[in-house]
């Protein structure tokens, strides 16, 4: 049963830029290989954590919004657990209100971007 999911994960801040990019691409590739359709992916970059996780006070945030089969989530999360660069992850199913909200959010984010660089 295909439904829409949203996953957020935090990477340790000790990574260099391309290490961080490489882990993000690794997960993106993993999703695409297993037949997911990525609707949206956002990188919030380095953010300060509200409380220290694994003795770190900041981390790289990455968000993926994708459509996938229910059984895929389990192996996605085992991938997260295996990768030691990821210190925290969370996957959430989206109901119809959430999907609407995300679309609206994406529009004003893109508007904000265009208004930024005007």
């Amino acid at each position: 049963m295909i439904n829409q999911y949203e996953t957020v994960f935090i990477m340790t801040p000790v990574l260099s830029e391309e290490q961080m990019k490489e882990t993000v691409n690794k997960f993106e590739k993993f999703m695409l290989d297993n037949g997911c359709e990525i609707v949206n992916s956002e990188n919030w970059g380095m953010k300060k954590l509200a409380y220290p996780i694994a003795k770190k006070t900041s981390g790289f945030y990455q968000l993926f919004e994708f459509k996938a089969d229910g059984s895929f989530i389990k192996n996605l999360e085992t991938q997260y657990k295996r990768d030691e660069k990821i210190i925290r992850f969370m996957t959430v199913t989206l109901d119809k209100h959430a999907i609407q909200y995300n679309e609206k959010r994406r529009q004003n984010r893109s508007e904000k971007k265009t208004s930024d660089n005007e």
Binding site: V8, I10, L49, A50, Y51, I53, G59, Y61, L63, R88, M90, V92, D95, H97, A98, Q100, Y101, R105
Partner: protein
């Protein structure tokens, strides 16, 4: 020689707090989904120590209070909101 109680003058009139009609802001604004990724918005529903405000103070309906609680707990999970904060509102710039 009991003084008539009318002589007792209160310095300030007794403040009988007028009953402000509480309403569920989500029903009124027609908000259907509370996003856990936006901590700025969620700070309105937590107090200074990071605790979730009860319904009797915020006046939200049960359905949306559950969504608020779920969103706050998710935000805490991905470290956007602290589990225990001190004077959260100042450093987060919480908007009332």
């Amino acid at each position: 020689m009991a003084q008539a109680n009318s002589d007792i003058k209160y310095l300030t009139p007794i403040a009988v707090d007028i009953k402000k009609k509480k309403f569920c802001r989500f029903k009124k604004l027609g908000i259907k989904y509370i996003d856990y990724k936006d901590p700025q918005y969620l700070t309105r529903f937590i107090n200074d120590q990071g605790k979730i405000l009860p319904r009797r103070l915020t006046g939200t309906s049960l359905k949306y209070q559950k969504k608020v609680a779920q969103a706050v707990k998710r935000a805490r999970q991905i470290a956007l909101l602290p589990f225990v904060g001190d004077n959260l509102k100042e450093n987060m710039g919480g908007n009332k």
